[in-house]
């Protein structure tokens, strides 16, 4: 079926724009970048249509990549139902965001560079979801990390952007270390990295082994999918252009960890302890990030913490054994969170770069289309039935309740907080009086059309795309737990209460939020400063490493030790040379004397050795 065309098309777009884009006109850059992604999307549709119902995986082997001893790794792509879902999300949402970027990036420098990176990202992301063994997945995994780094630091002349890029890259190294260890363990135990082989053999392995593998894979997923304690890079990643935040840091790349853990579901179902840890990390992240989101004033930061929180939800789903619910939330979250970010981008674009919500307000009349579409995303994420977020969130919460009721209750509280902070952002941005000085202008149709399509997906995506039913067979899920109306009603009520609270605090009595914040100022400061997690990490990890590197590794080991040895050898050679220089008299007869002297010594030595002279 030529699966290789799916990732190769964006790669070609990257190569063309990356090499020649500087000389291209903007419309030619657009044609190459958007054309390649749209073609890729079309090829995905054609492939999936051709493959039918995909009840078993369709594998394509291209060549043997690594052959060493009994290690044999092929460059293989595979499509099964899980991959099909991911392919549609990545290329579909990716296409929309590419189109949106035409409008958003129109006035920015480095236009071709931006689209080249975006295409490269699509290539790696598609490699990640198509890979039929852990190593090909890992190639995509690292590649999207690289593109994330490049695009966070897109405004490389700004110090905070490059710092944020470095932070994302370095924090992800910790997770990748865990992932690598997991791959080593998998290879040692199963002598293969192919998904099919490993997952076929996994039920036979001991539970301790599978738990270790599962926990190490989880460490990798925690890095990429921004879970506690490795989430710190994602809020800073908002330094990149907003379409990047939408595509990479909301819809696709950060869900790679969820995809990878769902892909390894066979390992997790045989390692219940690892699953439990995932659920706990997920619920902790969900409530922790939602709390921070309550007090942020930067519109993108609100949605960034919201993303961390929603990824936590997906982890709850995975950890509760409801893999399909986790993937379901991945899909609907891709719709509404991409829309929230793109809408925020449209707001920021309208205000010529203003991101502080305290300088917004009353924008619903000035940029009505942005307002309407973002409202669709807001009701979707708040879990209002029958919109997209409602279905997936409740699938997760019901599954969590079956596993551990306390996780369900914390999830419900988080749902309330989610609704509150999203509507707080909406009210601060679009209602009340305008508090800024710019002259807002509605975005161009090229930005509004993707917003409209995503709004439709956010509203109807949950109802029309029944991901759990599609994936039930893939995950060997038993009969679905009976829909408990009470559980659903409670979580919906939590969302509605959150919305109502935001409405009261920010619209009915605008002063109430400030007076409330003043009455608990200590707590408010703690939340506003993100629980000082960055500062704690700086003090506990970063500063000791930097300080130790500077005072020990640099000044002692490098300057005194390594440089000392090198310079010592050099000056020793110079000193010896200075002495031996005097032999070089220029007088031929003195050289000859040395030759004779040497020969005599040689003869004497040979004589002594041979026993001639006693």
């Amino acid at each position: 079926m030529q699966l290789w065309l799916i990732p190769l098309l964006p790669l070609a777009g990257f190569a063309i724009n990356g090499l020649f884009g500087r000389r291209f006109s903007k419309s030619l850059v657009n044609l190459v970048a958007i054309g390649s992604v749209l073609l890729s999307f079309a090829w995905v549709l054609k492939t999936l249509y051709g493959l039918g119902d995909l009840s078993s995986a369709h594998v394509e082997h291209y060549f043997t990549w690594i052959q060493s001893g009994n290690l044999s790794i092929g460059c293989d792509f595979a499509v099964d139902r899980l991959t099909a879902v991911m392919l549609l999300v990545v290329t579909g949402i990716g296409s929309l965001i590419h189109i949106y970027s035409i409008g958003y990036m129109a006035h920015e420098g480095g236009y071709y560079r931006f689209f080249a990176y975006l295409n490269l990202f699509m290539f790696f992301m598609l490699t990640l979801v198509l890979g039929a063994n852990f190593l090909v997945l890992f190639v995509g995994w690292e590649g999207v990390g690289l593109c994330s780094y490049l695009l966070i630091g897109f405004y490389f002349d700004k110090q905070f952007a490059t710092n944020a890029g470095n932070k994302a890259f370095i924090v992800n190294r910790i997770g990748d270390f865990g992932f690598s260890l997991a791959m080593f363990l998998i290879f040692i135990n199963f002598h293969s990295l192919d998904f099919a082989t490993v997952f076929h053999a996994a039920p036979g392995a001991s539970e301790a082994t599978l738990t270790t593998i599962g926990l190490l894979l989880m460490v990798g997923a925690c890095g990429k999918s921004a879970q506690l304690p490795l989430y710190v890079w994602l809020p800073d990643a908002m330094a990149g252009p907003t379409p990047v935040s939408a595509l990479i840091h909301a819809a696709t790349m950060v869900t790679a960890g969820v995809y990878m853990t769902a892909r390894s579901w066979v390992i997790y179902t045989h390692a219940p302890d690892a699953m439990h840890v995932i659920a706990i990390i997920g619920v902790a992240t969900a409530v922790f990030a939602a709390t921070i989101g309550l007090a942020q004033t930067d519109i993108k930061k609100v949605f960034a913490y919201s993303t961390v929180s929603q990824l936590g939800y997906m982890f709850i789903g995975i950890g509760s054994g409801a893999f399909s619910a986790g993937i379901y939330h991945l899909v609907t979250h891709a719709f509404f969170k991409a829309l929230l970010f793109l809408g925020a981008g449209s707001v920021i674009h309208a205000l010529s770069g203003e991101q502080d919500m305290s300088k917004m307000g009353g924008l619903r009349k000035k940029i009505p289309w942005t307002f309407v579409t973002m409202m669709c995303a807001a009701v979707a994420i708040a879990g209002v039935p029958p919109f997209a977020g409602f279905y997936s969130k409740d699938a997760i919460l019901v599954a969590a309740h079956a596993q551990a009721p306390w996780i369900y209750w914390v999830g419900v509280i988080t749902a309330g907080m989610t609704a509150f902070y999203v509507f707080r952002a909406m009210f601060l941005t679009f209602f009340g009086e305008y508090r800024g000085h710019e002259h807002p202008h509605e975005s161009s149709p090229v930005m509004l059309i993707p917003l409209g399509l995503l709004a439709l997906l956010s509203l109807g995506g949950g109802y029309f795309f029944r991901v759990p039913e599609f994936l039930a067979e893939f995950f060997h899920a038993g009969p679905e737990a009976p829909e408990d109306f009470t559980l659903v009603a409670i979580s919906v009520a939590a969302g509605v209460i959150g919305i109502a609270l935001a409405w009261v605090m920010y619209l009915v009595k605008p002063g109430m939020a400030d007076s409330f914040a003043g009455s608990v100022s200590g707590l408010y400061k703690l939340v506003y400063n993100k629980f000082f997690v960055d500062e704690i990490y700086d003090a506990a990890v970063v500063n000791p490493i930097v300080g130790g590197s500077r005072s020990v590794l640099w000044k002692v080991v490098d300057a005194a030790g390594i440089d000392g040895i090198v310079n010592g050898v050099g000056s020793w050679a110079r000193g010896v040379g200075g002495v031996l220089r005097h032999i070089q008299s220029g007088n031929i007869r003195s050289y000859a004397t040395w030759v004779v002297f040497g020969s005599v010594m040689l003869i004497v030595a040979m004589g002594l050795a041979g026993g001639l002279i006693r």
Binding site: R581, H582, Q584, S585, G586, N587, I588, R589, A592, T593, V596
Partner: protein, 103 residues
């Protein structure tokens, strides 16, 4: 006839010639003389080659002698050319004056 002469005589003659060559090389100052001393050493070595070759009834020593002669001939050609150039540039044949490579 030769068989009556012991090999040690040849070797002693060879050693004497070689020592003369070394002494000439070390103590004479004229480049031409030094050059001739080198030829003398080469011929001393040739003599011992031939003597041993005869002693052991093997042809290898003869072959080596021819090699040495060839090398000596080429060396003479190159060496004399160098000596001519040195004299042209410096108007001297004193070997102690040619020490610009000092230190």
């Amino acid at each position: 006839m030769l068989s009556q002469v012991p090999i040690s005589w040849f070797l002693m003659l060879s050693a004497a010639l070689f020592a003369t060559g070394v002494a000439g090389f070390l103590f004479r100052r004229n480049i031409i003389t030094v050059f001739m001393s080198i030829e003398l050493m080469l011929n001393a070595v040739n003599l011992s080659f031939i003597a041993f070759s005869y002693q052991h009834k093997q042809v290898d020593g003869h072959l080596f002698a021819f090699f040495v002669m060839v090398v000596a001939a080429t060396e003479a050609a190159v060496g004399l050319a160098i000596i001519l150039t040195v004299f042209k540039n410096r108007q001297t044949l004193n070997i102690d004056d040619v020490d610009s490579m000092k230190n």
